[in-house]
């Protein structure tokens, strides 16, 4: 016979912490606490399997359930010495949901169940407090009516308000015992009126009604939505916990509280928490009375004048502090607990791993290692890599008032305020005058880079998480909110409209790139601070991880930042970003305009000194580390002038006629530029360009001491790479001969087309390394333009077509297969081929896990994601390399 019900805290305790899948988090931990000998009010858990069976059997329960519940209830009665429904000595219970993971506020709870017109009298007598008993009764009716019977909460509120008006009182605390009796009477009348039948008085019926309501709440829309957002499978189901009630509101020897075993905001090792004398749990949360600190330390820290529990109830506090130690020693993690003190006796109602800020997570993990509570590996697994972002960027002051006017995509983390400007030139000009500016654009393009660099933050109204603005902002560490469609920018009137209001250039706004929020005015921010804990955790991560972590960078600033954050080389240096400098773009445009090879060569040669200079600077910063340089990739028209004034400047300097320039522009226009004449196709058509770039790299390498890795983009066939590798090798030989000195270098390719992945064996014959360009690989494999997907991708994620934005987190089922194929075939053809990833996914922890799985040698990401990648790579190594570490994680 299947066991559907597990007891705890009374005659026997049948569950434990690692039965979370069956008993839910709450139930499993109640059982675990009971087994530890902690004071847990007796109760039982109806398993998640009942929930699954309930939905599979058309909302019918397994036939054995009734018997098992009755038996468990009997057991509680024995343990408590009270009887469910007994008018003289009534047992009251709480009924709470408890899923495998916490879904705060999503599902329902009923307290004080078992009260009716008879038992309320018994409770009054037993407690010696009639007002308490009737107050408990009306609380029960309100919750039960709302949760189980489907009555409107405001109907209860209205009756209560009317009563207070009648009595000419304002506070609930002023309602007398008789008052509550009147209110209860009116509640019953209202229920009868609304339901056409009386409010249920039979405790048995009440219990099953509440159990059914909890199971049904698993499928209400808000729960479904919550699960979708948080990736929780529907078939996990919820458990139901039925537990004998204890009361923190039976007098001044009663109390209730919530606590964290350490400070969840900074990780400090002291007992952090709040309590209220003579109160029920909901009072702590409701904010009617000011909760008091548990400890004297906490009280002093907060500058409170209210006495600490440590002072008021020293004995019970001592018990509670022992519980704290016991729980931390047992769970080896900071706990979030709930307790109640009833008539001087302590009861534990919940424990779970406590949520914490990134700074706290780091400090707690490091402290616990030093306290020998956990190992370094456990510490590493316990820190959410994404959360490190909080430590690297300014955050909004949580105390500050904020007026949110719109929400876009959280494209690059950090909070920033600044004066609204609508052009890159203005951003630069005002920044030079010492102003903090917020660059607001419909979209950004490579021509805006100087303005983005000058700005404190960037706001765009179009584009996704991998739009130009997002990618560049992340690289630079600038805060960015992208694709904020609720805002309409009108460049002509130099203003933007949001919710009907106009924000003009010069106004101040604040953005939070970690949440996507856009706020009016300046909101105070807190500067990040890198503690010693950070360095310590990073050093453990570095000891642990197998994969190297490189960065995507081409400017000296980005490269320095990345090296500071621990990058072990450059995995992607996009040479085209170097082409936009004012003194170069003219030559680039002349090169593009050239109609034959000799002219092109002439224009290209003018670029050589500048490009060589770039590489010398970059290579010096990266001294001793590998640098992967990608040769020219984007379609040429990206470099062309498009606005009239740029066209004028260009035609004048080059001595061309405008007609011809416009004709060439039209010629370069493409229907699908992403799939057009770009990448190595440019190298095939215009070998002069790649030759110049290769020359610049080799000449720079000779002056410095990096090993350049020359990367050919957008290869689809082995032959393309063969042709272009030959060009690079010939250039290398020529340079080495001229200079009388040679350097080591390797030539490889990006794998960013499905065909390249499929032909990886043949391509590997010419490639010494593969770098997975997962941005383009995702675009082509999924047939989805990242610049256009914003229109339908939200629908897609909402309907469960993709779990997450595949441009943010690798689509392992599709794109991942191509990577696996390429890795396998590439290694077959060349066993020592170097493998890396340089798409945006290189900084995403889930994707990094995949990279570890398929055995890549390194990941490369934007500078500010380097610490995240270091930690994620360490976690991936632990999870895949050491199964026991993974077990620990799961259990925690």
């Amino acid at each position: 016979m299947t066991q559907w019900v597990y007891q705890f805290g009374g005659e026997k305790t049948e569950g434990k912490a690692d039965m979370r899948n069956l008993l839910g988090g709450k139930g499993a931990n109640l059982a675990e606490m009971a087994s530890l000998g902690l004071p847990v009010p007796p109760g039982f858990t109806i398993t998640t399997e009942v929930c699954t069976a309930f939905y599979e059997n058309n909302k019918d329960y397994p036939k054995e359930l009734k018997g098992q519940v009755a038996e468990a209830l009997k057991s509680i009665e024995k343990a408590t010495g009270m009887v469910f429904g007994d008018p003289a000595n009534p047992l009251l219970v709480s009924v709470r949901s408890g899923a495998r993971v916490s879904m705060p506020g999503m599902m329902d709870t009923v307290l004080n169940l078992g009260l009716n017109d008879e038992t309320v009298k018994g409770l009054a007598e037993k407690s010696g407090d009639e007002r308490f008993a009737w107050d408990s009764y009306r609380r029960f009716m309100t919750m039960y009516g709302d949760v189980v019977l489907g009555l409107e909460h405001h109907d209860f509120e209205d009756i209560l308000d009317q009563h207070k008006r009648d009595m000419d009182i304002t506070e609930d605390t002023d309602v007398t015992a008789d008052g509550w009796k009147t209110v209860v009477e009116r509640f019953k009348e209202m229920a009868q009126r609304e339901l056409g039948k009386p409010f249920p008085m039979d405790p048995e019926e009440q219990l099953w009604g509440a159990i059914g309501a909890v199971f049904s709440s698993w499928m209400v829309p808000r729960a479904i939505t919550y699960r979708q957002i948080h990736d929780i499978p529907e078939d996990w189901g919820t458990a139901v916990n039925v537990q004998s009630m204890v009361f923190g509101n039976m007098g001044d020897d009663c109390a209730t509280g919530v606590a964290f075993t350490r400070d969840p905001s900074n990780g400090e090792n002291y007992f952090y928490g709040e309590y209220l004398v003579n109160a029920q749990g909901e009072d702590v949360v409701a904010g009617i009375r000011t909760p008091q600190s548990l400890t004297i330390h906490g009280k002093e820290k907060e500058g409170s004048s209210l006495p600490a529990m440590e002072e008021v109830m020293p004995d019970v506090f001592k018990q509670l502090d022992d519980v704290r130690t016991k729980l931390e020693t047992h769970y080896r993690d900071m706990q979030d607990i709930e307790f109640t003190v009833q008539q001087g006796k302590l009861y534990m109602l919940q424990t779970r791993n406590g949520k914490r800020t990134a700074a706290a997570a780091l400090k707690i993990a490091v402290d616990m290692v030093h306290e020998n509570l956990i190992t370094k590996e456990q510490a590493l697994l316990r820190i959410e890599p994404q959360a490190l972002d909080q430590l690297l960027h300014p955050t909004l002051d949580p105390m500050a008032h904020k007026q949110i006017i719109a929400k876009g995509l959280p494209a690059s983390p950090g909070a920033a305020s600044g004066i609204v400007v609508f052009s890159a030139d203005e951003a630069e000009a005002r920044a030079k005058d010492g102003e903090k500016v917020m660059l607001c654009r419909i979209e950004t393009s490579p021509e805006d880079i100087h303005g983005m660099h000058a700005a404190a933050g960037i706001l765009t109204t179009r584009g996704g998480m991998t739009s130009h603005a997002a990618v560049v902002a992340r690289g630079m560490g600038r805060a960015c909110v992208a694709g904020c469609g609720a805002i309409t920018i009108d460049y002509k009137s130099n203003a933007m409209i949001v919710q009907g209001a106009e924000i003009k250039a010069g106004d101040i706004i604040t953005i939070d790139g970690s949440t996507g929020e856009v706020m009016l005015g300046e909101v105070a921010t807190i500067e990040p601070e890198l503690s010693g804990d950070f360095a310590e955790v990073m050093s453990w991560a570095d000891e642990t991880r197998r994969m190297k972590v490189r960065t995507n960078a081409e400017t000296p600033l980005d490269s320095k930042t990345a090296r500071h954050f621990g990058a072990e080389g450059i995995g992607l240096c996009r040479t085209e970003h170097m082409f936009f400098d004012a003194d170069r773009i003219q030559h680039v445009r002349e090169m593009i305009f050239a109609t034959s090879a000799p002219y092109r060569r002439e224009a290209v040669e003018k670029l050589l000194p500048a490009q060589r200079g770039d590489f010398v600077e970059l290579f010096k910063i990266m001294e001793g580390l590998p640098v992967t340089v990608r040769l020219l990739d984007p379609p040429l028209h990206e470099f062309m002038p498009h606005e009239q004034k740029d066209i004028d400047t260009f035609t004048k300097a080059a001595g061309f006629e405008e007609d011809k320039v416009r004709a060439r522009l039209a010629e370069l226009a493409e229907s699908n530029p992403m799939l057009g004449h770009r990448g190595c196709r440019l190298g095939i058509s215009y070998p002069e360009i790649y030759e110049m770039q290769a020359r610049a790299i080799f000449e720079a390498a000779i002056e410095t001491s990096v090993t350049p890795e020359i990367m050919i983009p957008l290869v689809g066939t082995a032959r393309e790479l063969e042709i272009l590798k030959e060009l690079v090798d010939e250039t290398a030989q020529a340079v080495f001969k001229e200079k009388g000195k040679s350097v080591d270098y390797i030539v490889g390719t990006m794998i960013e087309l499905p065909r390249a992945a499929l032909a990886a064996d043949k391509i590997a014959e010419h490639a010494e390394f593969f770098s997975f360009g997962t941005n383009d690989l995702t675009q082509t494999a999924l047939g989805m333009s990242r610049d256009d997907a914003g229109k339908f991708l939200p629908d897609y994620v909402a309907q469960g077509i993709y779990d997450k934005d595949p441009f943010t987190s690798l689509d392992t089922e599709g794109v991942g297969q191509l990577i696996e194929i390429a890795v396998e075939r590439g290694q077959d053809a060349r066993s020592d081929i170097k493998l890396g990833i340089c798409g945006e996914h290189g900084g995403d922890p889930a994707s990094i896990m995949f990279c570890e799985q398929v055995g890549l040698d390194y990941v490369s990401c934007s500078p500010y994601r380097v610490p995240i990648a270091r930690l994620a790579a360490a976690q991936a190594a632990l999870k895949l390399g050491k199964p026991e570490a993974a077990d620990i994680k799961k259990a925690a």
Copy 2:
């Protein structure tokens, strides 16, 4: 010891026809003829392996070669009774190249080799004709000087012209023996002057010089280019044939000629050929004298007054006619032969399978089956499927004069003349007046369809083989030259410029869609005629093939045409083509403009009756056959008005403001529309549209008797199909209930994204069929936009990166792998899944071969390619199913 030299025709014959790879085509067939007992002048072949070794060893010969050549030469001397270099009885030889496949005019030949100041006298004496001997000598010097010594041909010509001026004569035939002696003297002086050394007199030196020149000619640029164009691998190499000379110019009992064993232009079974008395082979080709017919039948047919060989040399003709029979019986195919008659004796110099027109190929194949020379299978394998195009479309009269002004892509076969018009509306208007028009556009769009339909032919200056113009023209059977970049169209001035000249609207031009040529004025065309042979061959093909052949069609005309050509259903009905009718586009635009589902539904419902009507008509034409209908696929902005007048019309009719319309247009614009909001993504975002289309299909199906196959486009994940299949199924149930009648139908998807191929197992759980959309699959797998690839694809094909345009012939290495993966996984998940292809490749023979290989159930192609596909499918079945058939093909 490797045998580098193979003898034939003399003491022994060592080769045979199937040794073509080793001996080249010419050498192998000379040996074969000798073995058959035919009169072949003795000679030997130096193998293609020598050529390969020559290039591998830095242009050195294998060391045994010299000895083997000397020995073979001795053998010729024995057989002919003449001696190489003997002043009294000189053996003269020809040295000719001969590769595995014929490369006409690409490589070099030297005749009369062995002549020098001494042997010329012996030849004079032996032949009794001093003039003949010196004429032969000067011919040898000219050829050898040009081919081996690198002297300029015009230097020889100049000397000869000077001599004729000196002698005051105009014709070569008037040069006397002494005259030739003078000319030879001057040739020698010129050679000494140019080379700094005398013209080689040593026959041995002459021979090796000629052999070296032939091998070297394998690598001259024109030969390399020819091989690239014709897909001939470089490592095949060429053989060298050294053969004793015979002379057709030693008197009136001598002759030379070329012949086909049947008429190569129409296949008629008579001996078709030309000869000249007292002439050398080159004279027949040179056109100085008018060649005469071989037979009296031929003479009468051509209305010639010159006597036939049958009359002039009846005995030798009889021998030749016997050779004809022998060769046809032996080779079982029409032969192209060369012969010489020396002093009454017949010599065979060459035989090979003769080239022929498509009509001739059909007739010869059918006749030979009836003559029991070959089997039906062999007949099927012998006809080039592509060549059938000639039979289905008008062709240029080969006799007509044509002034070619430009060349574009041969986008849709057939030749057509017409009045130049630059807009679809004008095309329609003038066609209504009975004029033949040529629609000339930079590009075409769906809005031009009515004009394309009205036109005799279509010319575009942009776009590739799979551009809109090309695809639609092929579907309609209209001639089309696409992407003709040499022409610049200026809509404003209503004219186009080509080579500096202006062609105005109203001028007449002619295009040949089979070659891409554009001609000035009207060029006569020949209308196609479908003979009984065509029907007979098609019926054999139908008996033989395994795969079904369907068509891509949506208009009644296209569907009728396709059914007439034997289509067995529709494989791709593109519903969006139905949206462009003037009376519908307004509703389509209102649907797109709708900002919420109810408005969208309202607009969509207006389209329902028209769409249902389309399907009823189409289904009636396809009565009893399956019809695959693809739901809406293209991005919505394709339907939107873009020109001011269209915007005006739309805004007026819909009652919208222009500003709002323009805003919506901007909203719909995409960076990469190919990868944008289209296909099933529209169905996910706007289910109303797909629901209406499904309803139209089911309501039409109930009225008729086809089994609709509903196809969801651009699926990348199983979930997309799951959602949309549910929508279709629900719609079906609703319609069936309303109508009280149901029909069979199936739901499937296009596999046109790499991710779909990789997830085919999961997708197949919801798909009853897969149709490979190889256009988009090629675009995404290769990351190559077909609209933009024109800029670099020619470079790519030229450099051997892709053998052929991958949009025309399937890239089996890349895209093919995805198809194989999808087939395998799809069948694993659903063993009876129906598999087809509906991309442009469905009409390409090489791609059809691939489809047979991977086991697809059908191919679908444009109506005019249906016969080609039927034949190609039969050939594929034969080649893959019956290995012996393939062998026959290879040997032939």
